[in-house]
Symmetry: C2
Subunit: 271 residues, 2 copies
Amino acid sequence: MIASELTSVRAPRVQAARRLTKRTFRARERRFLAEGQQAVREALAAPGRVLEMFATRDAADRHDDLTAAASAAGVEIQLVSGAVMSAMCQTVTPQGVVAVCGFVDVPLDEALAARPRLVAVLADARDPGNAGTVVRTADAAGADAVILAGASVDPYNGKCVRASAGSIFHLPMTVDVEVEATLHALRAAGLRVLAADGNGTDDLDQASDDGRLDGPTAWVFGNEAWGLPEATRSLADDVLRVPIHGRAESLNLATAAAVCLYASARAQRRA
Amino acid sequence: MIASELTSVRAPRVQAARRLTKRTFRARERRFLAEGQQAVREALAAPGRVLEMFATRDAADRHDDLTAAASAAGVEIQLVSGAVMSAMCQTVTPQGVVAVCGFVDVPLDEALAARPRLVAVLADARDPGNAGTVVRTADAAGADAVILAGASVDPYNGKCVRASAGSIFHLPMTVDVEVEATLHALRAAGLRVLAADGNGTDDLDQASDDGRLDGPTAWVFGNEAWGLPEATRSLADDVLRVPIHGRAESLNLATAAAVCLYASARAQRRA
């Protein structure tokens, strides 16, 4: 089902979609934009997630897989001109396809009811690129959930959605929860809470050798600039540092998370 | 030594520094800009590297450590107005300090003469943020050198320098070398060449268990979009994939590099 081309950025559907680039409107409507082939493909694979889909004629012609997936999901493709597409997208060179999606987050109780074995918690992470990359990395490492706690960035921010490379549609995500309450709930659910901190008393490799990564684990990662406050660290079972063998002061948030989550993935699979 | 404040963006020294935001001028003069406290601090710690230093009065007052380091290094601080600083910086909110530095790269022969045990090679990596993050991560993982081969991004690009968080001044870096010739030189120097590839035949964890990460190793990472071409993979001793346990299609370049380099760091230290 392909509707005839919209050429006006003032068309009500276009205006409604464009508003979703702003957090206030996203929160009010519980909808967000997924831009680009990969994000739209993964969104279409998640049942009922795509509410509207827009494409340029060129993109629709080029991506048979997307038009087929849209058709299979019962989603009508609204053709739009290049100018309209540019107005809806936040990237400099839009790929010609964008979907309006319903929010994917689930309550903490629901994420924990699935008895997760590996969880990534972001506490006050502010950079959308970092947050999206952590979602993607957590997915790759086989994590069962990602929790954006405290004053963390809105994961429905366009930059975060793009950095997640479709993974935002793959694993349960929880948002808008307090850090402290979250850590208590994770421990009550039987997960060992590990805080990642450059000044951690124990080394990641040592913890791995000691078997402390073998069981169900929730990793907590802090803010890009100031890490984790003492109040958060004191709630963790262990405060672990990724060893710095050279002269770098630290790792960035997303790379530190990658090293920690993959250390857990490896330890859990060997245990 | 603090010279009186420059307030004109047309001042010759300011114009000369601003030109270094363009690759052509950087290449001609073999100079680049290091922006922000952390980068300037690390630059000052590298003997003879800082050729000029600019700061706002406010930043100079706030950062005693930087003025002391400049003084110890015999570097005069040129005070500039906020407007001049903004004109020289590429960040939206400049930290008020920027240094003109001499290029830090060394010829491949020199990097190899130091008998490195862990080397990161970027083959045609195009994103400056990724490249800078890999330099930072390689430094953290204790790598002895980073090589930007093929059509890789200019590491003196402001975004790359910022993403390296000062690590560009920490470990030997080689640029402008061909991928194939580099891999031959690395093998001749006794390093095992490992290509990181999402479609690799062997799994990183398996290779680690088999002891294939224990000796001197050069990791090769490819382009963000298309990875490593067959011609490059065929020159590697092993083509390894970071295991994808979930539904993510892949990891991004910098996170994949973090997992690989830290796997080597761990294996080498245990061997």
